[in-house]
Amino acid sequence: MYRYDNYDAKIVHERVAQFRGQVERRLAGELSEDEFRPLRLMNGLYLQRHAYMLRVAIPYGLLSSEQVRVLAKIARDYDKGYGHITTRQNIQYNWPKLQEVPDLLEELANVEMHAIQTSGNCIRNISADHFAGIAGDELEDPRPYCEIMRQWSTFHPEFSFLPRKFKIAFTGATRDRAAVRFHDIGFRVVENESGERGFEVIVGGGMGRTPIIGEVVREFLPKEHLLSYTEAILRVYNLFGRRDNKYKARIKILVRSLGVEEFGRLVEEEWEQIKDSALHLTQEEIDRVSAYFVDPDYSDEPGEVSEVEAFAASNPRFARWYKRNVHEHKVEGYFAITLSLKAPGVPPGDITDEQLDLVADLADTYSFGRVRTTHEQNLVLSDVPAKQLVALWETLDANALATPNVGTLADMICCPGLDFCALANAGSIGVAASIYEKFDDLDYLYDLGEIKLKMSGCINSCGHHHVGHIGILGIDKRGEEFYQLMLGGEASDDASLGKWLGPALAKADVPDAVGKVLDVYVEERADGERFIDTYRRIGPDKFKERVYDAA
């Protein structure tokens, strides 16, 4: 993985000193809360319902075991013993004290981490396919470009006060696991007719109040122009994006109002002027950064997959985990393992300091000391050899990290909701818990197959409900929590937005309503058909009848 050189280290340490000064000025009363607000927001520090919340950047979701141990220490020393993995691969702490945040940032800086631009109207953490570098369907590892983009976007003097936040995601694979169509810019590594690699550039996607699927603004962008083209997009957005209404300020609204052709024309016009400037990436830099992402030293004897399968045949509990949480790897005999953070009784994405320490140790023992975070709020050990799979599982199982539910209904995405967030209308974590309780039969979950359930506690849609196969949105009706169901969303290649099923439901009725939706699916599905495909084939009517008729 990328390691800081002197320049990178200097910037994060200077940032800590700067923020320390800003906090001191705030505590001394030299800065009003109004003046402090944009400063702390640029550093990921939100004022939440009960306390400050700090969001720490995990660039493209990649961590070393050393970094994971520091995240554990921070959970222990500055928080109440846990952190929360977000849908953009970051980690949030809910209880830091303002006066301690500079020390916390110093601890992060010592292991090449920071909270720079994890909030505010600027370019946010760059996210990526969580199987980057190990996926069999990958054309090229996108992480060197994520890192180059991270550096270019850090403290960009022109783009630190954009109309609204700006999120960028990369994938180098054929199958999209990074939701690139739902980002302000999504980059896909593609090959052109002459076999050269470059990027397909998708612009103007996003969730929020107005969910929009991004559109291709350029089919092929040579790699050396990555930064200049991005700068052109950002400049057009900075100048012409709406600033009169924060709900219409994202780039998706600009792209939609101009049309993607006209938007693209403005970008090309700007790009022509700067493509040969100092933003023209040098091959030396691409090579320098790429060298940090070469394959680890894979063993020639990773063990026999057939032996793992033999063990699975004799141990049903292992077999379930092996089927759900273990993924193919580009190297024969290696696997990627998802550590589900969706255990019953725990808010989705939460992880304790002890679990983090354990994950760091397991990464060192079994997976070259690397850990990844996913946008579905889980962790991944990316390079585990077959011969160590059983030993790893036994340890995970003993520590509530082997819940075999990845990709099932129970692997839901969920925002922090009313329990923490000042914006939320609804206690999404509580509803998640009641859904876990109702659907606790693993065999039933497996029979249902791949279902993406995504839940948000308000229309800002941090829980991505628009792109859930089943989406749930919490709303407030005269002081009471209600929930709307939507069906048919999809975040990946065949992206679609869900549609409302009908009137909002009382909180207590949500699990039953989900049950009825699933019943219809089970009755109607063709052989091997996923929920989303059945829904697309038969439409909403039967689901609607079942949910609302009896009620």
Partner: protein
Amino acid sequence: MTQRNVIRNREIVQDDWEYLGAEDAVPQGAKVIVELARWKQERDELLQAAEKVGVLLKGDDDPKELVEDFEVLSAISLDFPKFADGRCYSHARLLRSRHGWKKDLRAHGDILRDQAFFLWRCGIDVLELREDKDPNDALEAFREFSVTYQPAEDTDKAIYHLR
């Protein structure tokens, strides 16, 4: 003539530019800054009456409209009505590198020390710091960072040219 402190090229200096509203009379021999609309209407009168003339550009204005007047203008001021309104950062860069404006480029409005470094990097050399703030504090902002990643108006080198 009122004087105030501004930060010019990273130093605190006295400044006697005046902003005129659409209807304000032009004080003879003064240095005045007017909005683009007034400049377009009263160009010659302004040049005649005032010692020096500058134009205040807003986020919505198109800096290209001034290019033909570069020779007669003595300053361009960019409006930051709110801390969070960042359009004029782009205007500043375009004025400097695209249109070749070489004279004073001023930041006007809600200017705090925490923008100072970004404004400077975008080519703005005169900061009209909000009057309730101590300019000595703001000078420190220029010393907070010793390394930058991207090329901008202060350097044509990206970090990868230095490595």
